[in-house]
Amino acid sequence: MANPASSSPTPSMIVLDPTAGKAADRLTRSQRPSNLSGLTVGLLDISKPRGDVFLDRVEQRLTDSGATVQRYQKPTFSKPAPVDLRHEIASNCDAVIEALAD
């Protein structure tokens, strides 16, 4: 019996795109400040153990360089920073340093 739907050769295969089809955005990095004097630098503690030890030392060094330091903390390292916190940091700070490691 003829099999109409499969008898002719298929020249190529068409599939459906399994991805969300998003292209990565290219964002321009902010200009690096030439010096820290008079700038506000945010320090974000992601709530890993001993992140505060690292950031305490960083705060001291930044303050010595003439920067004003603002400290922030994520509620938990296992979830992204809440949008309000990100907005607050972006609004108040000229630069931010995040303590990732334990």
Partner: protein, 489 residues
């Protein structure tokens, strides 16, 4: 026949000409029988249009139109050949199927029609409803309902290599997600392809039923697994489960799917021998479908947002059914609030398994102590509360509890007691190990697991005096909570 590619947009129903139209195929004795009738009608002034499904030279008449693409047959819902249709002003008014002399005479108004033929012959099945063709035809003619972008592989491109090249796979080959396969997968749910299932981390893409179906096809799922896949995606992407954090962690764990209820047997899931191993299609592909959804729709790939330091083999797919029929416990989903007899998935964060070997204990009091000692080493023997775990009790161990009348509550209560630890044994530096709990806890009693941090299920083969621990991850609001989702009807 034109290629599938050029047929895709051609989903408008082809109009039938006014007058009488017959749809026939050569491979049908009734159609062969009525060739003289068709010839008579074709010579009438009103005319007859004949569409032939399998052989453009059949019947040998001028009025025959080639429908070997089955486009006319599919769009006009032809189920039987011959079918005779009357069309007026482009609209179908009436149709009859098979051969019945009085019916055809009345329908056509030709009193002597087919006088030499038997009075009645049933028709044959239309090729357009041939089960081996329906998925492909639905894709070709109904495929415009799918919204995803079409990707055409070059004719010299191997489709499996092409999927690797595009970054769509997890390291294993995938089933190419053709329209026909995706439409067949969508038949596994009543939900509309456009429905949003969940927002998939880390990119927070609103994933539709159709997009999840594409990835389920690629994972190797059958359509009857699809409701389990949809529920698993929904559970994984809830705030409580925190798939984003579980993906991003350097720790070993990934999502583990435990299936309860009649769906598990219905789709042939494994809850017995080698339950965490290879060999069962549903177990192996449902977890993989979730993993591919997170990879392809969420954008979560190893080395990028997935920062697993070592990972674990279960991150490819970790899905199993609870062994309910001889369990000492109520099904996990029932314990978590789902009505008995309903199907559900429970997602926990975890990895493993780790063995709990005890071939000597025959009393629940002894066995629970073995289990408690093994559970104590989850994460680290001197660390408490942070790590969740799932204890998977085997049938041979489970029998000891069942015969002693220990249900899950009793077992958990005994474990809680045995796993309430003297903090002085856990302090940093104790036993020459720097790791441990801070000095502040000296003199206190600490539970190994947070409340709700230890799940207990029943699974495995008939023989083997072992149970298993599936080490978890950071439990609770700061990490991941187990999440149970009932399957849609």
């Amino acid at each position: 026949m034109t290629s599938a590619k050029t047929e895709i947009p051609a989903t408008q129903p082809p109009l039938l000409p006014d007058g009488l139209t017959a749809i026939v195929k050569k491979d049908c004795a009734t159609c062969e029988l009525i060739v003289p009738v068709l010839a008579d009608l074709a010579s009438e002034q009103t005319g007859l249009t004949i569409y032939t499904q399998d052989d453009p030279a059949f019947p040998p008449l001028d009025a025959v139109i080639d429908d070997t693409s089955l486009s006319v047959s599919w769009h006009h819902d032809i189920e039987t050949v011959p079918t005779l249709i009357r069309v007026e002003n482009g609209e179908e008014k009436e149709r009859i199927v098979g051969w019945s002399r009085p019916q055809w005479q009345q329908f056509t108004g030709v009193a002597s029609l087919g006088a030499e033929l038997p009075e009645h012959r049933p028709g044959c099945g239309s090729l357009s409803v041939d089960p081996s063709l329906t998925d492909e035809l639905a894709a070709r003619f109904g495929g415009a309902g799918l919204h995803s972008r079409r990707v055409e592989f070059a004719s010299l491109e191997d489709e499996f290599e092409a999927a690797f090249d595009r970054g769509w796979t997890d390291g294993l080959p995938i089933v190419p997600p053709t329209e026909a396969r995706v439409l067949a997968m969508l038949a596994g749910t009543n939900r509309s392809p456009e429905d949003v299932v969940a927002s998939i981390p880390p990119d927070l893409t609103d994933a539709t039923v159709e997009q999840v179906a594409i990835n389920a096809v690629m994972a190797g799922c059958k359509p009857e697994y699809f409701p389990v896949v949809l529920a698993s995606v929904e559970a994984a992407c809830s705030d409580e489960f925190n798939m984003h954090g579980l993906l991003a962690t350097t720790y070993f764990s990934g999502p583990i799917i435990v299936v309860n209820g009649p769906i598990a047997e219905h789709i042939g899931m494994n809850s017995g021998h080698n339950v965490f191993g290879q060999g069962n299609r549903a177990n192996m592909t449902i977890g993989r479908a979730l993993q591919l959804v997170v990879r392809n729709l969420g954008g979560g790939r190893p080395g990028e947002i997935d920062m697993g330091m070592m990972g674990s083999p279960g991150k490819l797919s970790f899905c199993f059914a609870e062994r309910e029929h001889d369990s000492p416990f109520t099904p996990l989903a029932v314990e978590r609030g789902i009505a008995p007899g309903r199907s559900a998935v429970t997602l926990v964060a975890g990895h493993g398994p780790t063995a709990v070997t005890d071939q000597i204990s025959r009393s629940p009091e002894s066995l629970v102590r073995s289990m408690a000692q093994s559970l104590r080493s989850t994460g680290h023997p001197k660390l408490v509360i942070g790590f969740d775990a799932m204890l998977v009790v085997s049938p041979e161990h489970g029998r000891i509890f069942r015969e002693a009348g220990w249900d899950r509550q009793r077992l958990r209560a005994e474990l809680d007691q045995l796993l309430t630890l003297d903090a002085n044994e856990l302090l940093r530096g104790v036993d020459g190990i720097d790791e441990g709990v801070p000095q502040d806890f000296a003199g206190t009693q600490l539970p190994k697991f947070r409340p709700g941090g230890l799940q207990i299920v029943h699974a495995g083969g008939d023989a083997g005096l072992f149970s298993a621990i599936l080490g978890g991850w950071l439990g609770g609001p700061k990490g991941s909570e187990p999440v149970t989702v009932e399957l849609a009807d």
